[in-house]
Symmetry: C2
Subunit: 206 residues, 2 copies
């Protein structure tokens, strides 16, 4: 795995919603640990050590290791949803381009968090998974609505809206897998590239 310090050192909106600071520090430590060794190979003791706290301190803030994963997953999904829907553009072409630009570059910038969020879904309890699945449904609906809007406006040509939605989301999410901070493209450049490719996918001449 790539080094996670850069990403987790950012005191950004994602994690600042978690209070008190000790609970936030633990969540950040858990996300880093899960991303390196996987959820099942990480113990609450590992997480406490990484956060510079005692193993017992974990249980003051979280019921279990799974609760930590759930909070990372819930916050990660909610943040990526707000990134996707937070675009201000009204024109369907510009709106989809802006949403893809934001969503793809978020997955580069927060690649370690995004990996944990995407690859460890099967470790969630059924109740927690249901809550995350509802956020995923809203993410999917947001992209589908943007594509549908462009089709209605006559500016997109999409024979299979569900299929295109799936591909757009998949393309952006997979940035988290291959992105490396040392690579040739910055998160912003990836966002620009992907906005262009997605507009081509939906049949808009660029």
């Amino acid at each position: 795995m790539t080094t996670t310090s850069g990403e987790f050192a950012l005191l950004d909106e994602t994690w600042s919603s978690v209070t008190p600071p000790a609970a936030r520090r633990m969540l950040i430590a858990a996300a880093a640990a899960f991303s390196v060794r996987g959820y099942h190979a990480t113990t609450t003791r590992d997480i406490a050590a990484q956060a510079g706290m005692s193993p017992a301190a974990v249980y003051i803030h979280y019921r279990s290791k799974e609760e930590l994963l759930f909070q990372i997953s819930r916050i990660g999904h909610a943040t990526s949803l707000s990134v996707l829907t937070g675009v201000s553009e009204v024109d369907p072409v510009e709106r989809l381009a802006a949403a893809v630009r934001a969503f793809a570059s978020w997955h580069a910038e927060y690649h370690t968090t995004a990996r944990v969020v995407q690859y460890e879904l099967s470790a969630l309890t059924p109740e927690h998974l249901a809550e995350v699945v509802e956020l995923r449904r809203r993410i999917e609906a947001a992209v589908r609505d943007m594509i549908t809007e462009g089709v209605r406006a006559g500016v997109f040509d999409v024979p299979d809206v569900r299929g295109a939605t799936l591909a757009v989301l998949s393309l952006c999410i997979d940035v988290a897998r291959w992105y490396q901070p040392s690579g040739r493209r910055t998160p912003t450049e990836i966002g620009d590239l992907y906005a262009d490719l997605v507009l081509r996918m939906v049949g808009t001449p660029t």
Copy 2:
């Protein structure tokens, strides 16, 4: 994780190259176990139990757990490379479409193997990783050559060949993450959808 029995029950070309049968059975058991709990949380004891063998039997065929991961990764990458380059079409448009169709549907059909292959790279030794990286370089070169050929023939319009190559590969590989055998699309249908979307990405009217 989804159930793995269907995929691993297939006595296909991927695993039939592994001999003797006991070594093959162990590799299949290891891929299944890694896909469910992750590489670091899986022990050689778990793998032996899943293969119906004694823990000591693992070491007759493999030096270590990492050797098992390496063989899965090597064979997985080599197979996906041969799937990608095994297309017989000569026309650049048809060739890229056929390659994407084959590569994307392979990642659906063999999603559990592909997940292990893609998500556990960081657990390989530097020597083994170098060998896998060389296969990845060849996979990337194969797609880049196909796109370059279409640009040269004047049938593709691609401002950023490297960027398009990255996106095509990413789109197909990420099928392994989201594909579910119980989902609405078969591997063949996913291949067809993606061939169409990729031709749009490279600027070919479909």
